[in-house]
Symmetry: C2
Subunit: 447 residues, 2 copies
């Protein structure tokens, strides 16, 4: 029985461990932090996640859908809040299609439990990886409390230890390893909107709420207990920035003026604002992802910004792509690993680009009538010609189309829709047969 | 007297040390390797360097021009060798303008000697930097032989420890540090062409020799002892690649067919080819370059590919730019360091771009008649209207124009010359008043 080491017991690592065990490998999981299952979970402790189609596919591999459905809340659209407090719902996809709000901590507990109890994965918490030797497929760990050292040799090592991966740091010391870490000029700060006294949600439960304000935005994702995990994304420096919110009075005034409906629902905005640390947003790109019998997955090889809700989903898709390659190559890892990285790298690059572009869409465009009309037109074409036109958001969120393909198709759609939106009478004619034909013809010409 | 630590005793570090000492600082220099002055120097041990105008300016700060002139050889142009062994000389600039071939090792010896003997810089060799604490401006070192540890606290720390900088590695652990290392798909291998029996040069001494072959190239720079340091730049993989030269027979056939005149002058091409290791080419970009009282310079903050001959020159220009800021801000480092990085970062990015572009020019375009004609036309305009048109190569190599400005001007020149070269009769009319006026008019329109 082949031995596998998985380094990093977050979402991707615990899912991967369970799935490899299912395939007949003897899996040991190592995690630097303590077992999250021993710690009381608190909603709002990190960006809530939105599980979507790609993620569910990987979850299905280990039979965890039902359990995760119980701890997640479907969000069928974006609820856009303007500065006057008006709200409008923009559906994400077709009727019934949703993305699912789930707490990172609760999801991790589910995955670890499944991996340990059903798939017999050996769990080692509080062990920090300090070194990986690719020649011998050996990893060295240090216990975070006792300082004890331990070495493990395996047939395969997987690094799923996140954006600041130690496994990747060791790859970085080898020859010709391309690496990039890029911090965007924006950061984020979380806030927690409490439930009503009776435990009900203060605002629409089945939506992702956005307060788009051009250069920055506030979002809110529902939690099971009636609260919302809210996140303010904003530049570090400049006129509207975290730096500008230097004292309590300015914080108070900012929220009251810019997010009046939100602020009314918050019991103590200043205290809430100060409670969570300002956090950074980083994009990680690197290559190769494989060195001999060691590979990195998820944020370790491709960390992205959270604006397309695809960070976890792309990591989970790594697991299902690898699953397919295990079948295809019948466990021949000399074929699986090279094909995995070659196949997956362009998709990781594409979703990194898409995620950054979606920030502009979320914080600015969703409030723009032209953008809303464009979505309406695309929605119509999609319903009538689903085999010819799937909007980019749907491709990314509700399909298994490769991200790189979605990016290409999306650019063609952009070109077509930019032209269509220039038609002088588009507000009145958007639903006409003429516009529909024009779109389809251009599509044919460009394909 | 303010204490300064310079970490890294290569070219930029030794020059910087001497210059800071000249400004009245007490400078300690730490270098990981042994003192190069104790080791017998061997030509051809690393890419020969081409010192040009920007480099000389910094050399002048510490009064080392005369000495370096004695160990360097002026190269007035490119000697292009085609596949039939025909040669043609393309001058680099105006008459008398040259770039200077110098051995890295010999230059380093000169700089270290000057820093130690004339500027009283304290030298510490065989000490590897293991950690920098930016809060306390403290660096920790470990002796490479004895393992002894030592801490040094200073008022300022400068990291000039090259492309794989330890100072930068410590910056990378701080918040929001952008970093990129990118290995290009090409590598290089050095060869040494010996002198004639009487010590004379086998080919033109005062030129940089190029054998451009489209996807790859060979170059040769003269050494004082009559030999040439030659470098083959080529892709790692593919049809014409290092991977394809897998056995001695293939190496022999490759050189004989592709570089016949060169190979005739080489006593044992196979042995020579195997003597030096295949080496990588990396581009490093990062930001910020400053953390509190610590700054990184040269390759540590901006390593580039060698194809514009500006790696060392841009590092030396870092030193002279900092020199100007020391005067401007009268030693107020709270002003000097922030302005230094803000000023210099766009120029480092620009030369990184230019250097990569020049690879295509060197390995491919210099053999193209259209390109040669374009250079001739530009040369004429430059001679007649020097205040309006300085060719990009001259701006980079023979001026102190900011790299970022040169890149911009170069793009305007490209646009103009692309149009001019499209004129059907350009081969016969290039020297006409009509073409000259057309160029000047377009220039006026675009400025």
């Amino acid at each position: 029985m082949k031995k596998v080491l998985v380094i990093g017991g977050g979402l991707v690592g615990s899912l991967l461990s369970a799935n490899l065990s299912r395939h007949g490998y003897k899996v040991k999981l190592y995690e630097r932090r303590p077992d999250v299952r021993g710690i009381e979970l608190q909603a709002g402790k990190s960006i809530n996640l939105a599980l979507s189609t790609r993620g569910w596919k990987a979850v299905d591999l280990i039979g965890l859908r039902e359990k995760i459905e119980k701890i997640s809340i479907p969000m069928y659209g974006r609820m856009v809040h303007d500065e006057e407090g008006n709200k409008s719902l923009q559906p994400y996809g077709k009727e019934g299609q949703a993305i699912y709000s789930v707490s990172r901590g609760e999801l991790n507990v589910c995955l670890l439990d499944k991996a340990e109890k059903e798939y017999d994965v050996e769990m080692n918490f509080d062990w920090r990886c300090v070194h990986v030797d690719f020649e011998t497929t050996t990893a060295e760990f240090e216990h975070t409390e006792t300082g004890e050292k331990r070495k493990e040799t395996a047939d395969l090592i997987f690094g799923t230890d996140g954006a600041f991966s130690q496994v990747r740091a060791n790859m970085q010391l080898t020859r010709r390893f391309d690496y990039q870490q890029e911090f965007i000029p924006h950061g984020y700060r979380e806030l927690l909107m409490p439930a009503n006294a009776d435990g009900s949600h203060k605002i629409e439960k089945n939506a992702l709420h956005i307060w788009p304000r051009g250069g920055y935005m506030l979002i809110a994702l529902p939690n099971l207990d009636g609260s919302y995990t809210c996140t303010l994304f904003m530049p570090y420096e400049g006129k509207d920035s975290f730096a500008a919110l230097e004292d309590d009075e300015k914080v108070k005034r900012f929220f009251t003026e810019v997010f009046p409906d939100f602020t009314e629902m918050m019991p103590d905005i200043i205290k809430n604002y100060r409670e969570h640390q300002l956090a950074d947003l980083v994009i990680i790109r690197c290559y190769p992802w494989v060195n001999k019998n060691t590979a990195i997955l998820g944020d370790a090889s491709h960390a992205i910004v959270p604006f397309y809700g695809q960070g976890m989903n792309s990591g989970f898709e790594d697991v299902s792509v690898m699953d397919e390659l295990i079948e295809k190559h019948n466990h021949d890892w000399e074929k699986i690993l090279p094909e995995f990285q070659q196949l997956r790298k362009p998709d990781a690059d594409a979703i990194a680009t898409l995620a950054m572009r979606n920030y502009v869409e979320m914080r600015d465009l969703v409030a723009d009538p032209g953008f809303v009309l464009r979505k309406k037109i695309e929605g119509k074409i999609y319903r009538k010609h689903p085999e010819q036109w799937m909007p980019l958001y749907s491709q990314v969120t509700f399909s298994h189309t490769r991200y790189s393909q979605a990016l290409k198709t999306g650019m063609i759609q952009d070109r077509i829709m930019e032209e269509v939106m220039k038609r002088p009478d588009i507000e009145s004619t958007w639903d006409s047969a003429e516009v529909e034909e024009a779109i389809l013809e251009k599509l044919k010409a460009l394909k």
